[in-house]
Amino acid sequence: MLVIEARELTKVYGRGENRVEALAGVSMNVEPGEWIAIMGPSGSGKSTLMNLIGLLDRPTSGSYTLDGRDVSRLRDAELARARSDLIGFVFQSYNLLPRESALKNVELPMVYAGVGRKERRKRALGVLERVGLAERAHHRPPELSGGQNQRVAIARALVNNPALLLADEPTGNLDTASGAEILDQFEELNASGVTVVVVTHEAEVAARAERVVELRDGQIVADEPSEVA
């Protein structure tokens, strides 16, 4: 079963003269366990594609099957459910709740998924351990470095065992060393079976992936195994 099966996805913003076609018919498949980088310059539509894949936005047309479920016609509440069950997000700017501890941040997706308190605590500590931040569990985001924040965000993304780990410019706010650490983290997770899709415009990031999908003007212009991999 494919993790992602997208067919002719389009996304159009605005109307009339302001009409912008951000995605002009994108089709792609992602197998379980793949590590894919989606690349392209700004304005290429890669962020739009990532929003559609991540169920943060709806396509104007086209169909989208995620982990065997057709998710292109779901209602808002069902979309929220699908995000909770199937997708883990990592954002460029971390998007952690700044006043809650790392542990509470990691527990949050499980609150919405309806996981009990003890189980939440256990699983949250487990994933924090996995990203090497067990001893920072009670620190708040402002007390942590950028790299550490991003690892908390990765822990949060992993905690519900998603079918897909989706990262939008995950190293964009980090220095080279921290960025490399995050990429190591992805590599490690991917090695343990997690499907990873990273949206980036940095060639170094794409070089770490197994497969690179290149977008330009809302269309896929290249889809091939990474040269390095």
Partner: protein, 393 residues
């Protein structure tokens, strides 16, 4: 169900970790509720103080005179030889539900030594009905007692008010003890208080040889019940007199109309104060809630991205707003009552009176405004696609 509690708990911990923002939102509600309660307490206090003063002037007063129509006023000049009002009538009037107190009034003139002084026979309740002020001593309560005017006391006993009390005067050979001296009557708002000395009704009747009382003065329970009291008195006395309307019930109509005008104006003023403070409080709450929700649009986006449904987000904001308005509202009520109680302590001239209505109104409006403006913008943000909510800073 368990999820709702977890989300409620999240709302609570959200309030705790964002203490500054929570305190500010709450402050808006506290001040709103506090302002409404205090301002209406002040307005009410003023209204009650003025109403009390006006009542003392005699707007509740009813005069029952013998004969019909023409008899006006009270005092020796209104005396009638053929009075039809009896002591029984006084009791009857006093027993009516709308009447607070009644007293007979027997005007006469007595000879003390070589001087004739005006003397009115009344019941002890008269002092309260006409707000009689005494310079010294007390009002008449028993047989053989008199209360003299200041000028009369000076004239007869050659002494000031204080020294006159305890002395005796002789009227028709009998001794009467002076138990009090009246305050000099100042010209005041209201029906003129007669210039006369007082003794007990029965003494006056015995001295004059009359059987019936000259007039009856009565006090209605409130200014609003004066008309009703006049009707009841009329009916009661008519039946007591075998259907004959040989008396006249007089009310202080002019005084009453001024009285009701003042209280009506005060009520309008009070309503104005209450609505303006409600408005100000409501706008304060609205602003703080709108701002605090607006700056959390991104947070809403994050929560939705990691799996929160619109309902989850709404529940959280509803719970937060509920807690804020509840705690803020209670604090505002406490502060409002506290300051209202404190003001008259600091300066007794400032009257305050907290009413239950103002508490309910202040709390109710603040709660509704707090909830609506805490939840409505959150609802708007929650309905955005997560990507749009995340885009907001």
């Amino acid at each position: 169900m368990g999820k709702i509690f977890r989300i409620a708990g999240m709302g609570l911990s959200g309030l705790m970790v964002n203490r500054g923002r929570s305190a500010l939102s709450m402050l808006g509600i506290v001040i709103g509720v506090f302002a409404v309660i205090l301002l209406t307490a002040l307005g009410n206090g003023v209204q009650e103080a003025i109403t009390g003063k006006l009542t003392g002037v005699g707007s509740n007063l009813l005069l029952i005179s013998p004969g019909n129509a023409e008899a006006q006023g009270e005092g020796p000049l209104a005396a009638r030889s053929a009075s039809t009002l009896t002591r029984k009538d006084v009791k009857k009037v006093e027993s009516l539900p709308t009447v607070a107190a009644a007293s007979a009034s027997v005007p006469s003139a007595v000879l003390v030594g070589t001087k004739t002084i005006p003397m009115t026979g009344v019941d002890p309740s008269y002092a309260g009905i006409r707000s009689v002020d005494l310079a010294a001593g007390r009002f008449v309560e028993h047989f053989g007692e008199v209360v003299l005017e200041t000028a009369v006391a000076k004239d007869l006993l050659k002494s000031g008010p204080k020294d006159a009390v305890g002395k005796t005067i002789k009227i028709k050979g009998d001794s009467y003890k002076v138990v009090g001296v009246l305050e000099v009557v100042k010209p005041a708002f209201g029906p003129p208080v007669p210039e006369t000395s007082y003794m007990i009704t029965d003494d006056a009747l015995a001295l004059s040889g009359a059987k019936n009382v000259g007039q009856i003065v009565a006090e209605a329970r409130s200014a609003g019940s004066v008309d009703q009291a006049a009707k009841e008195i009329g009916a009661a006395l008519k039946s007591a007199h075998g259907g004959a309307e040989d008396f006249n019930v007089e009310t202080q109509k002019d005084l009453l109309s001024v009285f009701t005008l003042v209280t009506d104006l005060l009520t309008i003023l009070l309503g104005g104060i209450a609505s303006i403070s409600l408005l100000v409080g409501g706008i304060g709450i609205m602003n703080i809630m709108l701002v605090s929700v607006a700056e959390r649009t991104r947070e809403i986006g994050v929560r939705k991205a990691i799996g929160a449904t619109d309902t989850d987000v709404l529940l959280q904001f509803l719970f937060e707003a509920l807690l804020l308005t509840l705690i803020g509202g209670l604090a505002g009520i406490g502060l409002g009552i506290g300051v209202s109680a404190l003001l008259p302590e600091i300066n007794p001239i400032i009257p305050t009176s907290v009413t239950g209505t103002s508490i309910v109104l202040a709390f109710g409006v603040s709660a509704v405004v707090g909830l609506v403006f805490g939840v409505l913008p959150a609802y708007r943000s929650a309905r955005l696609q997560p990507v749009e909510a995340l885009r907001r800073e």
